[in-house]
Amino acid sequence: MNRTQNWRYIPLVAWSLLVALPLYWVLITAFKDTTSIYNGARWLPWVDFHPTASAWHDILGGANSVYGPLYHSLVIATVSTLIALVLGSMAGYGLARYRLKALWFKNNDIAFWIVSQRIMPPVVVVLAFFILYKNLGLLDTIPGMIIVYTGFTLPLTTWFMESYFKQVPIDLEEAAYIDGASRMVVFLRVALPLVTPGLIATFLLAFSFAWNEFLFAVMLTSENATTLPIVIAVQQGQLGTSWWNICAISLISIAPMTIVAIVLQKRLVTGLLGGALK
């Protein structure tokens, strides 16, 4: 393609503006106060309104400090994603490399059975979890939330990892077996390093699920294990909605994901590929 295709920038820039407008609005609203929010649309800081950092003072040390929920979110999302990734890549490897048969269930049936969990709307089980957790004393605990999120991301990680492992040429592994390596060594030293991009992509998807999940968090936590999405939601309180706090917390919550996406964007694109090829 050596023809110049500058027209391509027209739709690209148009979509960029559509994507960026809400994000820009969140960014400036995080620096607004009551007067600059409620008197018509104000676009430009210093020109249309006076930026203030009061929201940031409030959530980073004031009455509405977000450190607690931020910590819960980090622990819950990281731990549950790591567990799901470890179990998921082992299960995925097993499905990709061994011929399994349980009654009339073969590999593909098992894989579909696992991914069919994604078909289930979470609201189906949230009530059951609520009753179960109430009886087990797991309501509003960090381990409780880790268990739920691990359960929910595991099908995804298993399914994605299986398709990544399937792409790895088996010759490499066979060569390692001939050299006398055990199964565990082949898995850890040969297969796993080859699917690193896939591992990263899967990690991101699973992490962003656990990081952003709302329904389970709102049902199963109240104080000791609240996550960031819940804090965003409760800013709409009896005293009116604190839009500036909502925006500031939203910015805090996308910051890590965006940084990771920038760093990994090239790998993410190649990494997601395998999962899509299933």
């Binding site: 690209l12 990081w211 709409q236 909502i246 939203s250 997601l272």
Partner: protein
């Protein structure tokens, strides 16, 4: 749970097993309304997301200056918390203080009553979903495009096929399996939409944007009719499974036709 009558008065006790909940459900017009909205929402949103995502992927597929920048920017929305997106769009749609209506009025297009009027509210919810999830389809289709066999494309170009012909007769068929999978994932997820709508419209005005998940939530946790909520949720599961299986079967059938 759906077959009994769970009471919340005295801890949680299960009543005798009955079919009462299911009978109520089948005659509950609000349930059918919520289902109608959900299905409409899924069809429109997923279709538009697919075509926009596909178009964007085609634009960014060949090396282009600032391509990396566009890729990152385009993928940010899907990493945002649904809750944050709900609030965000409430600000955007705000009639007096939001950025959209003021601008539209200045260029003489009037003020759409985004969230106040049922039809507009449905449109608002769909626009929000497109904003949030087009990135997923964009990324996965872009990844698929990058795996296209170069020789097939070069051959077509040597034969003098136009750009449009190349897309419809070469790129599209090769991407079909990926498209089926991606649309499947997205469709199934769209059926369970909750957080965004909950915060954007709360299911209103009236019940115009009450998705079935929202309906189950309202019944189960705000009216404290836990077993009825469970019944709705289970009915949704059955319906989504049926639709998903029907979709996969149709897709497989069509793909076999293409290959043949």
């Amino acid at each position: 749970m759906s077959f009994s009558n769970v009471s919340t008065d005295n801890g949680l006790t299960f009543g005798a097993a009955t079919l009462d909940n299911w009978r109520t459900l089948l005659n509950d017009s609000s349930f059918w309304d919520s289902l109608k909205f959900t299905i409409l929402f899924v069809i429109i949103a997923v279709t538009l997301e697919y075509f926009i995502g596909f178009g964007l992927a085609l634009l960014l597929w060949r090396p282009i200056r600032f391509g990396g920048f566009f890729r990152v920017l385009f993928s940010i929305p899907m990493m945002l918390a649904p809750v944050a997106i709900g609030f965000m769009f409430r600000m955007i749609y705000d009639q007096s203080n939001g950025p959209v209506d003021g601008t539209l009025q200045r260029i003489g297009l009037g003020q759409p009553p985004w969230l106040a009027q049922p039809h507009w509210a449905v449109a608002s919810v769909i626009i929000m979903d497109i904003w949030e999830w087009t990135p997923l389809l964009f990324l996965l289709l872009l990844a698929g495009l990058q795996a296209l066999p170069e020789d097939a494309l070069e051959a077509a170009q040597l034969d003098g096929a136009s750009g449009f012909r190349v897309i419809t007769s070469i790129i599209f068929p090769i991407l079909a399996p990926i498209s089926v999978m991606v649309v499947f994932l997205r469709m199934v997820d769209a059926f369970t939409v909750f957080g965004q709508i909950f915060l954007l419209t709360g299911g209103g005005p009236g019940t115009a944007t009450t998705s079935t998940t929202l309906f189950a939530f309202f019944q189960g946790f705000q009216n404290f009719n836990v077993s009825y909520g469970a019944t709705i949720a289970l009915a949704l599961l059955v319906i989504v499974t049926a639709i998903a299986l029907a979709y996969l079967a149709t897709a497989r059938f069509l793909m076999r036709r293409i290959e043949a």
